[in-house]
Symmetry: C2
Amino acid sequence: MRARIGSEAWLRYETVESEALREEYRNACAAVAIAGETKVLRTAATELKEAMRAMTGYSPELVAARDLEASGVIIGVLGGGDAAIDGAIGGEADAIGDEGYVIRSMRGSAGESGRILIAGKSDRGALYGTFHLIRLMQQREPLGGLHIVETPANGLRMINQWDNMDGSIERGYAGKSIFYRDGRFVEDLTRVREYARLLSSVGINAISINNVNVHREETKLITTAYEETLVKVADILRAYGIGLFLSINFASPIAIGGLSTADPLDPAVRGWWAERASDLYRAIPDFGGFLVKADSEFRPGPFTYGRNHADGANMLAEALAPHGGLVIWRCFVYNCLQDWRDRSTDRARAAYDHFTPLDGQFADNVILQIKNGPMDFQVREPVSPLFGGLRETNQVLELQITQEYTGQQKHVCYLVPQWKEVLDFDTHAAGEGTTVAKIANGGAWNRPYGGIAAVSNIGDDACWTGHPLAQANLYGYGRLIWNPSLTAEGIASEWIRLSHSCDPAVEDAVLGILMNSWGIYESYTAPLGVGWMVSPNHHYGPNVDGYEYSKWGTYHFADCRGIGVDRTIGTGTGYAAQYHSPWRETYDSPESCPDELLLFFHHVPYTHVLRSGKTVIQHIYDTHFEGAEAAAALLDEWLSLRGKINEEDFELVASRLAEQRDHAKEWRDVINTYFCRKSGIADGQGRLIY
Amino acid sequence: MRARIGSEAWLRYETVESEALREEYRNACAAVAIAGETKVLRTAATELKEAMRAMTGYSPELVAARDLEASGVIIGVLGGGDAAIDGAIGGEADAIGDEGYVIRSMRGSAGESGRILIAGKSDRGALYGTFHLIRLMQQREPLGGLHIVETPANGLRMINQWDNMDGSIERGYAGKSIFYRDGRFVEDLTRVREYARLLSSVGINAISINNVNVHREETKLITTAYEETLVKVADILRAYGIGLFLSINFASPIAIGGLSTADPLDPAVRGWWAERASDLYRAIPDFGGFLVKADSEFRPGPFTYGRNHADGANMLAEALAPHGGLVIWRCFVYNCLQDWRDRSTDRARAAYDHFTPLDGQFADNVILQIKNGPMDFQVREPVSPLFGGLRETNQVLELQITQEYTGQQKHVCYLVPQWKEVLDFDTHAAGEGTTVAKIANGGAWNRPYGGIAAVSNIGDDACWTGHPLAQANLYGYGRLIWNPSLTAEGIASEWIRLSHSCDPAVEDAVLGILMNSWGIYESYTAPLGVGWMVSPNHHYGPNVDGYEYSKWGTYHFADCRGIGVDRTIGTGTGYAAQYHSPWRETYDSPESCPDELLLFFHHVPYTHVLRSGKTVIQHIYDTHFEGAEAAAALLDEWLSLRGKINEEDFELVASRLAEQRDHAKEWRDVINTYFCRKSGIADGQGRLIY
C-alpha cells in the first residue's frame, strides 16, 4: 500500500487493481470534452483527467466536444449549445435544480463503449457530476449504463472558517489556519486550492473565510487594503464553484470608517456600508456577502443604538442587494452575563425570544443562521425551537463540524447521525412532516433562500483534521446536506472506501467505529442531555461544576437529591412552550420526555426512574462504565486493521484512540465520583468509584 | 495635602508641620559627615540629606568627619578610624551583629544640640541606622537623647523576584517587571534604584532578580552575554547594601553549555559551572549566588541522572565556594503528576520526605529554602514540619508577599500576622522554645547561614503593588524579619504613619482594616484550613472543585456526608507524624486539632462539632455570611477617610475595596451554595442560599 498523501483525503486515487476495470475506465474516458468554455467546466475536465491518470495510468486528451470520437466523456451545461447534451438530457432538465446534474451512458457502436454525458443546468452542476463519476471509479464501480440524476436539497451549502489572521483558529483542533499566518494572508495558496477541491467534490458552494468574532485586523478585510489577495482567493474558489463570503464587524464604521456611530439607521453608516459593498463587488463581481455575529458574546451590534436585529441586518442587506449579495445573520444571541443565582433567565430560550418577534421584518436577501440546538453544539441537545418559530424569514441551519464539545478531534465522534436527527426532526410547525430539513432548505414556507452552514474542522495539519477519522465529518457534512435522505452508514461506508480501502474488512471495522462513536462519546460525558460538564474556555475534559457558578447560563443544578434544569411550563422557565405540539407536551412531562433529554427539561431526583427502567443515578454509573469500556474497545477494533490501512494513518489513529481510551476513563471516574459523592448512592453493581 | 508620588511608598517626606520641630531637626542634622569612604556610606549621607531637604527645606552640607562642627550627624563604621565613633560606641560592638547599628545622641555644649552618631560594624549597618533616623523624623519624633541599639535577627534577608525577561511576572499583580521588557533588561534602571532604596530602608540585603522557573532566555543570564547589564544592576544594588543573586536552570550545561548531560557528578558539568561562577565573580566580585528550583513542577534537576538534591546542590556549591557564593536550594518538591484517585500519596508530606534523609549531606554554603507551609502559600496551612526535621542543614524560611492565593492585591490581606504565627510556632524540635524563627535564623542549631526569603509583590505599577495597602506587606516583611518580636500592629501603625499620615484617625481606621483583613479573607474563602478552592492556573475566585480532580495533590474530598483530608497517623496519610510532640498528638486528634486546621488534618462529617461549639457546616455558613459582610464594612471604613488620605490613593483603594466586597459576596454564595447543595443541610439561621 503506497504511502498516503495526507492532504488528498477522500480524493485518493489508487491505481485500479483490476486490468479489466482499468481497461474499461480507459475506454469509457478515452477523451474528455467540455461543451462550453468556463473556468468551472475546465476544472471538471482537469479533475477527471488527473483522476484517470492516477487511477489508470492513462491521461485522456482534452478535446473540443465536436472532435470527440465515439468514446469519451462530454461535460457540459444544458442549453449551452451542445446538441448531444441537449438531445440526450434536455428532457430531464426539470428534474434537477440549478446545481444538479445528470450522468448518462450513451450506447456506442459495436466494439465502442460509447459516450458518457455529464450535464448540469450550470457549470457547477457539471462539476459535481464529474466528481460523482470520479467517485464511482474510486469505488471500482462499472461505468456501463449510467443514468444518474442528482440535485442538491439545499441551495446554500456553506462552510464557515473560524480562522483568525494571526493564524489561530477559534475552536480549531487541526493546526493553524491555511488562509492566514502572522497577521496576513499566506503567500502560498496551494493549500487553499486543495481545500477548495475537497469542498467542491462534496458539493459545497459557499465559504466564509474569517472568524465570526472579527478582530482588529480582520475588520479591514472588507477594505481595499486586502483587495488584491481576496481577488486571488476568490479566483481559486470560483474555479471550484465556491462563493466567497466574509465575516464582518458590525462596528466597522467606527473601527475603520472614521464615523462616530455604527447606528444602522444613520445615513452616513448606510452610505459607508454601501461603498464597502461597491468596492468589494467591483473587485469580485460574484462575491457572496456578509456573515454577521452581532450583539452576541460581547460583539457589537444594533442594540447599542436601540435598534433591533432586523434593523441591523436590513441595513447591510440594503448595501449588498444591488449586487445580489446576501446577509447571513447569526441567531446565537443570549445574555452572556447571566447571574447563576437567577433561575428565571434561561439561555435556551434566548434565540427564540429574540428572533420570533421579528419574523417577517427581514429583507429578502437576509438569512438567519440558526444553530441546531438552543445552547451551543453540545453532544446532546433538543432541536432549536426557532425552527418552526419563523415562517416569513429565510433560514439556514448551523452545524459544527469542528468537535468543540465532542472530543476536539482527539476523540472520534462521527457527527452525521446527530445531524440527521436534527434534519429529520419534525417540528410540526405547519403540521406533521415539517422537518428541520424542509424548513432549512426553504421548502416548508417556500422561502427564496435556505440551506445549511457549518463550522469547519480543518487546519494546516497534514491530514487536515488532526484525527484522520474526523475527515469523515467534513465529507459527511457535504454529502448529507446535498442529500439529507442519505444514511449516516451509507455516507460513512462511502468515505471509508474513498479514503482508506475498498476491503470489506476495513469497511466493516471502521464503519463500526464511526457509527458507534457519537453514542460512546455521549455515554461517558455529561449525562441525559444536561451538557456543559467541561472545563471552561478550552471545553476539553470533565469538569462537572466547570460552568455551574459562571455567567454563561449553563447549569445543571445538581444537589444531594437530584439534578437537571426545570424548563417546564408549569414550574420552570417555560422553554418547553417554545415547541409546537406534540413536542411541547412530550418535553414538558418527565414521563414522556425522551431519556436522553430528561435533564435538559427537568430537575429530577437521582432515584427518578427513566423510561429505560433504570434510575437516573444508576444510568449515570452504567453509561460511564460502559462508555469507557466501549472507548477502549474502539482501539482494539482499530488495531485489528494493522497492515490494511496505510501505516501513517494507522499509527496516528491508534495514538488518538489510546488517548481517547485514557481520557474516557478520566471522564468515567470524575463523573461517577462526583455523583457518588454528591448523592451518597452506591453503584448497584458495586464497581469501584473513588 | 500634596499629591502623592506613587513610587515613594513609605519613603514619603512631607514637610514637617511644626516650625519648632523643623528647627530641631535642622539643628540636629546641621551637617552630615561620613567616617570612611564607601559607596554605602555615601548612600546613607545622601539619603539623609535628601530626607532633610524634603522634610525641613534645609539641605545639610556633606562634610568630612574631621570638619564637622559641634552639631550634625556622623555616619560611620566601628573601627573604621573615627575616634568619636569608636569612643562613644565601641563598647556596644558586641551587642550588634555585622549588620546592626547604634544611634547615639551626644550632648553638645550649651546652646548646641550636639552630635548624632550612627555606627555599624559594617557600612550596611550604618545605612540601616540612617534610615532609622529618617523614620523617626518621618514620624515626627524628637531626636534628643537617642540611644538605639538594633541588630537584625536574620543574616539573610532576601527578596525573590519571579520576573521573566519578557516583562511578565509569575504571580505578579502589580503590572510588568521593573527589570525586564520584551526579552531584555530595561534601558532605564531608575525604577530598580528606587526599589533598592525601598528594600534597603527596611533592611533587605539580598535579591534574586529572575523567576525560579528559569525559561530559555533567562537561562543565559549567567553567561557573559548579560555581564554588562548585570554589573550595572549589581552596582545599583550594592550602593544600597543589597547582594545580587540569580535563579539558575539546572539543565544549563545542556541548554546553553553544549554538553550532553547536566549530571551533577559529571566532571565536565562541574567544570562548566565552575567557569560560569568564575565569569560571574570576575564581573561582580560580591555576587551572592544561585537560587535553584530543581526537580519541581517539571523543572530539570538531579533526579534525571539518578542523583539526589544534595548531589545537585553540592555541585553548584563547589563552583561558588571559592568565591564565597551561596546556593539557595528550594524544597518545594512534590509529585505534580499525582492521581486524584490515590489517597495514599500526600503532597503535604513531600518536602519532609524528600529532604530529611539528606540532613547533614549538604555543603556548608548550601541553604535550603523552605516554604512556610507544606502546601503552597494558602491563606491557612500548618507550619511545614521540615522546620524541626533538619538539624545539620542551613535553612531559610520562604514566605510569599505577593498575594497569589490571598486575593491577588485586589483584596486587602495584611500578611504580617500570618508570618508572625509561623515565626512564633514552637516546633519543639530541640525542646520547648525551638521556634521557626530560631531555626530559620540558624540559632537553634548554630548554623553558619540562615534567614528569610520572600516572593516580591511589586511591579511597574505606579504605587508598586497594585493595591496601595499591599505596600504594607512589603514594608512589614522587611521590618518583621529584621526583628520578629515586633508586633503586626506596631509594624502596621508605623507603615501607616510613614506612608499616609500621622493623623490618629487615619492610623486607627487603616490599622483596623489591615489587622482584620487576613481573618476576613480567610472567613469567606476555603474553610477550616482545607485550602485550594480556587480556579486552576490563575488562582483567583471561588471554585470549590477547581483542584479536586487534578494532578496537583490538592483535594478536599467533600461528599454528601463530610469533608477534609485524613492526614492522621492511624487511618490517614501519616503526615501528622512529621511533627514533634506535642503537635503530633494535637494535630492527630480531631478533638485537639485547632479548628482553623481541622480539615487539613481530618475528614469529618458536616455535623462534627468544632471546638468553637458550632458544627462544621454551620461554621461554613456563618463565616461566609460574616466574611462577606465584613468585607463590605472595610469599604465603609475606608470611605470615612475621604479628605484625610491623598485623593489618588483614596480612590484607588476605594475601587479595590468595592471589588473585594463584590467578590467576597461571590465567594460567599458559591461556597455556601456548594455545601448546602452537597450536604442537604439548611442554614440554621435560614439565610438565603441559592
